[in-house]
C-alpha cells in the first residue's frame, strides 16, 4: 500500500480569505499575526537585550538589509555576488562626508545612501547586459578591486582607514533606525514586487526576451532595480560606519557579499521575509560559534549545506506552508 502526503489549506485560512475575516477575533489574529510578530518583536527586542546582544542585533539588521538588497536584484533577474560593493560605497561616502566636511550623521547617512547607490549603479551599467554568471563574476570582483585601489593609492586613509567619526547619539537610536529600515524594506518592497511594476521586474527574471517583446526597455527597468538595491545596501554601509565610528578597506570584504546570499538562501529565496529571517538565524549563529575559533567556519559550512540540501525552499516558505496548510497521509491506489 503506497501512501502520499496531501496538503490542505487550513479552515481558518479559507475563512480568513473571505468576508468572515472581519467578524471574528480569531480570523483577524490569524491574518495579522505574521505582520504583527516582526513589528512587536522589533520594538521589544532592543529593550530586553543586554549590550552584547544589542550589538549582535545591529549586525542582524545590517545583514537583513543586505540580504533584502540581494533579493531585489535576484527577483529582477540579476544574480549578484557583490553586496559588499553597495555596502562599502555607502560606508566610504558617509565616512568621507563626516570626516572631511564635518557633516552630521543625520545628513551623511541619507546622502551616502542615495549617492553611494548612484555610484554603484553607474559602475555596474556597462555590465548590465551580461547575463547570469558573467554578471555575478563582475559584481564579485569590483569590491575586491576597490579594496586594492585604496591600498595602492593610499586615498581616504589607505590601509589605516578613517577613524574617530561621529556616532549617532545612542545605541537605541541606531537600533531603532535600523530595525525601522528593515521593516520598511520588508513590507515596502513586498508591496512593490506584487504591483504591476514588480511584475515587469519578475518577468525579466523569468523571460527577458518576452518582456522586451512587450515594448519594454528591460535595461531601463534593470537600472531602476539596481539603483533601489544599491541604495538599500549603501544605507546599511553608511549606518555601520557611524556605529563603528570607522571606515576602512574591510567594508569591501567578501563577508558582506557572501553572508547576505547565505541568509537569503537559508531564509527562503524570492521573499524579503525569508531574507530577513535568514539574517536573524545566521548572524547570531555565527556569533555563538565564535568561541569555537577556527572550527567555526566548518560548523557554519556544515549548517549551510544541511539547510540547502534538506530544506531547499528555505525556512520562511516552510513555516508559511505549515501556518496555512496541514498535511495528512492518504493511500494511493495500486
Amino acid at each position: 500500500m503506497k501512501k502520499r502526503r496531501e496538503r490542505i489549506d487550513r479552515g481558518i485560512k479559507v475563512r480568513a480569505e473571505d468576508i468572515f475575516a472581519v467578524c471574528s477575533w480569531r480570523e483577524m489574529l490569524y491574518l495579522s499575526a505574521p505582520r504583527l510578530l516582526p513589528i512587536v518583536g522589533f520594538i521589544v527586542l532592543p529593550l530586553i537585550l543586554g549590550v552584547y546582544w544589542q550589538r549582535v542585533l545591529l549586525s542582524v539588521a545590517i545583514f537583513a538589509l543586505l540580504a533584502i538588497s540581494w533579493d531585489i536584484l535576484a527577483q529582477s533577474g540579476m544574480v549578484s555576488l557583490g553586496q559588499a560593493l553597495f555596502f562599502g560605497m555607502g560606508a566610504y561616502c558617509s565616512g568621507i562626508l563626516n570626516h572631511y566636511f564635518g557633516i552630521s550623521p543625520f545628513v551623511t547617512i541619507p546622502i551616502a545612501a542615495v549617492v553611494g547607490g548612484a555610484i554603484c549603479t553607474v559602475l555596474l551599467l556597462p555590465v548590465l547586459r551580461l547575463r547570469g554568471v558573467y554578471f555575478a563574476m563582475v559584481t564579485l570582483i569590483i569590491p575586491l578591486m576597490l579594496e586594492r585601489v585604496i591600498e595602492a593609492t593610499k586615498i581616504f586613509g589607505g590601509t589605516e582607514g578613517i577613524s574617530g567619526l561621529t556616532s549617532l547619539p545612542s545605541t537605541w537610536l541606531e537600533l531603532y533606525i535600523l530595525l525601522a529600515a528593515v521593516l520598511a524594506a520588508l513590507f515596502g518592497f513586498r508591496r512593490l514586487m506584487t504591483s504591476d511594476y514588480g511584475l515587469v521586474l519578475k518577468g525579466i527574471q523569468d523571460n527577458d526576451r518576452s518582456v522586451m517583446n512587450a515594448g519594454i526597455n528591460i535595461y531601463w527597468f534593470k537600472i531602476q532595480a539596481l539603483f533601489i538595491a544599491s541604495v538599500v545596501g549603501s544605507f546599511a554601509g553608511a549606518m555601520m560606519t557611524h556605529v563603528y565610528r570607522f571606515v576602512g578597506m574591510p567594508v569591501f570584504a567578501l563577508d558582506y557579499s557572501i553572508l547576505p546570499i547565505a541568509a537569503a538562501m537559508v531564509g527562503g529565496p524570492g521573499s524579503f521575509a525569508g531574507a530577513t529571517l535568514g539574517a536573524f538565524i545566521l548572524v547570531p549563529l555565527s556569533e555563538a560559534l565564535r568561541a569555537l575559533g577556527g572550527l567555526r567556519i566548518v560548523f557554519y559550512g556544515v549548517f549551510l549545506v544541511i539547510f540547502v540540501v534538506g530544506l531547499p525552499e528555505g525556512i520562511f516558505h516552510f513555516v508559511a506552508r505549515k501556518y496555512h496548510q496541514f498535511e495528512r497521509w492518504v493511500e494511493v491506489e495500486k
Binding site: 504591476d196 511594476y197 511584475l199 515587469v200 519578475k202 518577468g203 523569468d206 523571460n207 526576451r209 518576452s210 518582456v211 522586451m212 517583446n213 512587450a214 515594448g215 519594454i216 526597455n217 528591460i218
Partner: protein, 250 residues
Amino acid sequence: MSETPLLRVDELSKAFGGVQAVNRVSFDLNKGDLLGIIGPNGSGKTTTVNLITGFVKATGGRVMFKGQEITRLAPYKIVRLGIARTFQMVKPFYQLPAFKNMIIPLYSPRVKALVGGKYGDRNAVALDLLEEVGFERDAQVAYKAASVLPQGYLKRLELAKAIALQPELMILDELFSGLSLAEVASIVPIIEKLLLEGKTIIMIEHRLKELFRIANRVIVLNFGRKIAEGSAKEVMESDEVKKAYLGSEE
C-alpha cells in the same frame, strides 16, 4: 502603385558564421494583407522574423516600416512603432497565473500612449483579452499558473499578449504547430477577425492547408533565399518549390 507599403523588406541578409540563414530576401506588405511565409525547416523563416523585429542584427539589407527605417532598432522600439510578434517556442512567465502574464504587455509604453496615460484596472483588461482568444471566463483556466497550462492555451496566451499591444502588424511564428485540428479551427476565426479590424499579419506556418485558406499571398523560403512568391496556387505549382519540399521530406 506609388503608395508606400506598410512594410518593405529589402535585400535582407543574415549570416551566422558560415551559415547564410537569410539571403537577400525582399518583399512588400500592404495594409490589411495576410502574408504567409513557408519553407522547409531551417530555411530561415524564424530568422527573417527576428531580423524584422530586431532580435537579430542584419548583416545586410534594410527593413522599412511605414516609410521609416527600422533595420537596427532595439526590439522594444520596434514594438512601440507597432509591430508585435509571437515566438515559435512559447515561453510564458511561468511563475505567474495566465492572466497576470498579460499585465506585462499591458504595462508597455505603447499601450500607455494609445490609451492616453492611465490604463485603469489592467487585470480586467487582461481577462477580457484572454476571453477573446478562447479562455473560457467561468472556467478557472485564466487564473491557473502558466506552468500548468496545456500547449493550446499557451499558444492562445502568446497570441493574446501580441493583441494586447494593439499592433498594426502582427507576426505569428508557427502559431498552429503542436495544436490539434480542432484547436486550429477555433483560432482561425480569431485571425480572420483581426484582419477585419484592419490588422496586417504575417504568418509563418507548416500547416499549409489552414494557412492557404486565409492568406492572400505566400512567399517560400529555401536555404535562406526566397524561391517563390504569389497566391497559394501559383506558389505550389512552382517546380523549385516542389523540389524544395520533396527534398526536405526525404
